[in-house]
């Protein structure tokens, strides 16, 4: 089975949000009851029912305004932290195509993946007591189709294809526009790549982790505790231990907010 990559060429994004709606349509996700946020970004954040979001940022670069638009969804890590921490077998699975897919049937709603994720992607529903996120349209790509967002994109910003081809395309495009590839950490591979434009610091993109890596706590959890929990503890004890672990790293891992990307000021 070939490995795939979704390529997001930010230099071609016009923020039309066709991807955001196509995602909801294919995945049958209901609309949220939103209200005015002060920005074009709406819903204000990813959620249990919003797996793809265009994030908008207005910045000044030497007196000139730049309006940044970024397609935000699961990055589909090669070695996914969420899968590593997930205590429930089958709830989060890395597929041979490169997709990281959640299965509500096995999700126990422990939220460990939310804390572990270096990109702050999975979202929890208290009503359903489970998480949800982008699946890279696993049900489409295994059927020879491209993800819904890619199919809907009118400008050529989104592309999807075999890993090697997409990496090559990303490099060529980055060189052509003088931009750069994100993430560009050989130690942390993802099945989603960005080409970011020149002249804009990646820190200007809200909710974009400039240095994605496997959280140390995940390694700690995985190597020391997880096998033990699964083998021996299970049940209530395991979840209690998990809750304890979650509580700690959450505060450590949380990054300072930029003061609300949804604020138009």
């Amino acid at each position: 089975m070939a490995e795939y990559i979704k390529l997001i060429d930010i230099t071609k994004c016009t923020g039309c949000r066709a991807c955001q709606v196509a995602c909801k349509q294919w995945n049958g996700l209901p609309a949220e009851n939103t209200t005015f946020t002060g920005s074009y970004q709406n819903p204000p954040d990813l959620s249990y029912n919003t797996w793809t979001l265009i994030r908008f940022d207005e910045i000044d670069v030497e007196g000139n305004i730049k309006w940044l638009m970024r397609h935000d969804a699961c990055m589909h890590c090669e070695d996914p932290a969420c899968v590593k921490v997930c205590p429930s077998p089958g709830a989060l699975v890395k597929t041979p195509e490169g997709a990281v897919v959640h299965n509500p049937k096995y999700c126990i709603g422990c939220k460990a993946c939310m804390i572990a994720c270096p990109f702050n992607v999975p979202r929890y529903s208290p009503e359903k007591d489970e998480i949800a996120k982008c699946t890279l349209c696993y049900d489409r790509i295994t059927d020879g189709k491209r993800p819904a967002c890619v199919t809907a994109c009118p400008t050529g910003c989104l592309d999807f294809g075999p890993k090697d081809k997409m990496i090559k395309k990303a490099r060529a495009r980055a060189e052509e526009v003088g931009g750069y590839i994100y993430p560009n950490n050989p130690k942390y591979e993802t099945h989603v790549l960005y080409v970011l434009p020149k002249g804009v610091d990646m820190k200007a993109y809200s909710h974009l982790n400039p240095d994605p890596k496997m959280p140390a706590t995940v390694l700690w959890w995985k190597n020391l505790f997880k096998p033990f929990t699964l083998l021996g503890m299970g049940g209530v004890a395991g979840l209690a231990a998990l809750h304890y672990l979650i509580k700690g790293p959450h505060e450590v891992e949380e990054k300072p907010s930029k003061g609300g990307d949804a604020d138009g000021e």
């Binding site: 230099t11 071609k12 994004c13 016009t14 923020g15 039309c16 949000r17 066709a18 955001q20 709606v21 909801k24 349509q25 209901p30 609309a31 949220e32 009851n33 939103t34 209200t35 005015f36 946020t37 002060g38 920005s39 074009y40 709406n42 819903p43 207005e58 000044d60 305004i65 730049k66 309006w67 940044l68 638009m69 009118p154 400008t155 050529g156 052509e176 604020d263 138009g264 000021e265």
Partner: protein, 807 residues
């Protein structure tokens, strides 16, 4: 260059091609807009201008081109009217302080806007372009006044940025280079909207950018099928194929033909409209197959000379109680028309209203409590006919590239919803039945040829065949006819408009679409993606009017010997061996150099000087009707020939509108301090037009759930407003104002005009009181005034005030 358009947001698919041109051909994108939009965000160069100053901006570019010799000389001399000599008594704003000769009582007498003629009646020319009365010299003097300093003092733009834009854009004057302009309603919706587009044409002609690959002026239409609806004449002043609506003064068919068939004595001029009688006769025969042409012409409704029947005057007449009934077919004037409060009051003066739409629109529900009225006060009888959406019916649409593409039905319409053709067909048969019982002038209805959806024996209607309509639009022979030795039987499709007859022996519902359907094929259905030239012609994808020609005026893409200006992207070229044109379908098959390229104009030359317009042969800058800024070009503040209703008030004849408590026909004066903020309206990608098709859809309502006004951080600070606050926007026509959210953004910046700060704000016009997402109606503030030529309303520049809602 994208100007007067936010293509990235409102024509997102167009950006696929914009991006492709940048990627494959190294094209550069310039965006010109008062506000930094999603289009600006992707542009290579962004230039700001105050709403309503497009002519100043482009006038400065034309001056730059003329001063720096950025002109495609051969093209300008041979293919435009630059060399034509104009009547020496013609005077323009250079001499007459902002107006043209002949101004009298708010109208121009255009007798001096004429060419000097030789003994054959053809315009005299000076190919050296040196005669002081030649168009080129007149143009040069006219635009010499548009210096960059003066331009920037009007637009509020940055001279350094403008110079960069001017330099980059006019560099396409080289024969092998081209540039295109994408514009939309930001250009047209002004009191001088036609002139905004005209000035793009002047610029493009000077640079030799019309008729060539990658050139032209692209009108980005507000709807996917606006081109088709215009081709088929959903406007009062034209008939299908841009034939003219008969006027009351032209009582006979001969008079009508005489008035509308241009003549030329120049053998080099194809003067294509000389074929007018063939097209008119074929159209009349499509309407009334069984009567002669004179009788058919008698049936045609005729408009009073000099009276305008576009939307604004119709609403005025409605408000005065002069109109009994209205069909609102896929239109929502209660939200979409200027001074929409007046529109809703005018609707209440109707006896009946039929709304045909997908949802219950604000127009269909203007009588309900949601509209803020007491239903018991409204006497109008309202019918709502549910219509089928585009996916629920078969037919064609024509895009702004003139491609007519067939569309298939995907699903049945829900419930009782029916497609427009079925609704119209039943209406026709019912009207015929009613007229059989009598009525005024019944013959036009009784004799109307309507071959679709016959009534069954049980009284039910067969669904009309849209294929039969398409065939009639193409046209067919009405009797056996021999053309060039080939016999065409009655009923066979006419192969192209060259075969149409003026004697009534052919019919064609629209001569431009003649050639779209053959006896064996509906070419609109073609779906071949082959593109042998690599220029994107796709000759076998759908069909393009006229006769599948993908670039009109393509004879301007070659020199007089038939050699393409641009060797690497030829549109057509002359093959000396076969003595035939190769490439695109040529604009006439004549040998190179034997006919002028602009075949639709009587003199065959494109018009730098256009005497046909109501407000001047050269575009001249005027201020929007509502502006606090003095016109720096002249003492003529606003266009002198626009139709103004405030003058009606002064004359005391506008009372019916005022008596309704509506001051739609008042405008802010330049010294009014009460309304200091320049405002414009626009659309966003998430909603569609007046919102009836999108505000009901949860996924789209989720994206933009509320009405808002965008304003700069500086204005917000002055007004003590924060992003997300509720504010009230007022105009002189609506002192109570509308309540909306404030979006404070860096994307709007104040303009520095003559040392003074002028703020600009912008509002969406998608919202109304019906649907899942509702909000205030922006057009409750907009002025009741239109363009001097087309009456398109001035939605894009007017004055408001914005204040925080306390408590």
């Amino acid at each position: 260059m994208i100007i007067g358009s936010n293509a990235a947001e409102n024509h997102p698919i167009s950006f696929k091609w914009v991006n492709e041109a940048r990627e494959k051909r190294g094209a550069k994108l310039i965006n010109v807009d008062p506000r930094f939009t999603r289009t600006s965000a992707t542009a290579d160069l962004y230039a700001r201008l105050r709403s309503g100053t497009d002519i100043a901006f482009i006038g400065g570019m034309i001056n730059y081109a003329l001063q720096n010799g950025r002109i495609q000389w051969d093209y300008v001399r041979d293919y435009t009217n630059a060399a034509f000599l104009v009547d020496p008594s013609f005077k323009g704003p250079v001499n007459l302080d902002g107006v043209f000769s002949g101004l009298n009582g708010g109208k121009y007498n255009k007798s001096t806007w004429a060419y000097q003629l030789d003994e054959d009646g053809n315009p005299k020319k000076d190919p050296s372009l040196n005669d002081p009365n030649c168009v080129f010299q007149l143009l040069k003097r006219h635009y010499a006044r548009y210096t960059i300093e003066k331009v920037c003092s009007m637009t509020g733009g940055d001279p350094e940025v403008y110079n960069q834009v001017y330099d980059l854009y006019t560099s396409t004057c080289k024969p092998e280079k081209s540039a295109t302009i994408m514009y939309a309603m930001g250009s047209t919706q002004h009191t001088y909207g036609s002139q905004n587009v005209r000035i793009y044409a002047v610029l493009q002609l000077l640079l030799g950018n019309i008729g060539v690959a990658g050139g032209g002026i692209n009108a980005l239409r507000g709807e996917s099928n606006v081109q088709g609806s215009t081709d088929h004449a959903a406007l009062f002043h034209i008939l299908p194929g841009y034939l003219k609506t008969p006027k009351a003064s032209l009582q006979t068919y001969a008079e009508y033909l005489e008035a509308n068939t241009p003549k030329s004595n120049d053998k080099m001029s194809a003067n294509w409209w000389g074929n007018y009688p063939k097209y008119a006769a074929s159209l009349l025969k499509a309407f009334w197959r069984d009567v002669d042409l004179e009788e058919a012409y008698r049936y045609m409704p005729k408009i009073d000379d000099g009276v305008n029947y576009s939307t604004i005057p119709i609403i005025e007449q409605m408000a005065r109680g002069n109109i009994q009934g209205l069909f609102c077919w896929g239109q929502n004037p209660a939200v979409g028309c200027p001074s929409a409060r007046l529109v809703r009051r005018a609707l209440a003066k109707l006896d009946w209203l039929v709304a045909v739409d997908l949802w219950e629109t604000e127009t269909a529900s203007f009588w309900q409590k949601d509209a803020g009225v007491d239903p018991s006060d409204i006497k109008t009888e309202v019918f709502l006919l549910p219509a089928a959406a585009s996916m629920e019916k078969e037919g064609s649409i024509s895009n702004s590239g003139r491609w007519a593409q067939w569309r298939y039905k995907a699903v049945d319409p829900p419930g009782q919803a029916r497609d427009d053709l079925a609704i119209m067909t039943e209406l026709v048969y019912r009207l015929k039945d009613l007229y059989k019982a009598g009525g005024a002038f019944p013959k036009p209805i009784l004799n109307l040829t309507w071959d679709y959806g016959k009534k069954g024996l049980d009284g039910s209607f067969h669904h009309p065949s849209v294929h039969e309509v398409a065939k009639e639009i193409n046209g067919f022979f009405l009797k056996d006819t021999e053309v060039k030795g080939k016999l065409y039987k009655a009923g066979q499709m006419v192969p192209s408009f060259a075969y149409l007859k003026e004697d009534g022996s052919t019919c064609s519902g629209n001569w431009l679409y003649c050639n779209s359907i053959s006896d064996t094929e509906n070419k609109l259905m073609r779906r071949s993606t082959s593109d042998p030239t690599g220029l994107g012609f796709y000759h076998n994808w759908s069909w393009c009017w006229p006769v599948n020609r993908r670039i009109i005026y393509n004879r301007a893409s070659v020199d007089k010997k038939g050699r393409p200006w641009a060797k690497d992207k030829p549109v057509i070229w002359w093959d000396a061996l076969t003595k035939k044109w190769k490439g695109d379908v040529p604009d006439g098959g004549w040998a190179p150099g034997t006919k002028y390229p602009f075949i639709m104009l009587p003199h065959g030359h494109a018009r730098l000087f256009a005497p046909g317009l109501a407000d001047g042969p050269f575009p001249e800058h005027y201020e929007p009707l509502e502006s606090q800024i003095k016109n720096f070009m002249s003492s003529q503040q606003v266009s002198p020939v626009i139709m103004r209703w405030d003058k009606e008030i002064q004359k005391g004849v506008c009372d019916p509108m005022l008596a309704e408590g509506c001051c739609a026909c008042t405008y802010g004066s330049p010294d009014a301090e009460k309304f200091p903020i320049i405002c414009t309206t626009y659309r966003i990608t998430e909603h569609w037009q007046a919102g009836q098709m999108t505000r009901w859809l949860p996924w789209l309502a989720e994206l933009v759930p509320n009405m808002f006004v965008e304003m700069s951080e500086e204005l917000a600070k002055e007004k003590g407003v924060k992003s997300g606050d509720k504010v009230k926007v007022t105009s002189i026509r609506n002192l109570e104002g509308i309540e909306v959210y404030a979006m404070v953004t860096k994307r709007f910046k104040p303009f520095q005009i003559n040392g003074k700060i002028h703020h600009q704000a912008g509002m969406l016009w998608h919202f109304g009181y019906k649907g899942r997402a509702t909000g205030s109606i922006a057009n409750d503030l907009t002025p009741f005034v239109g363009d001097a030529n087309t009456m398109i309303p001035e939605y894009k520049a007017f004055l408001v005030d914005i204040n925080k809602v306390r408590g």
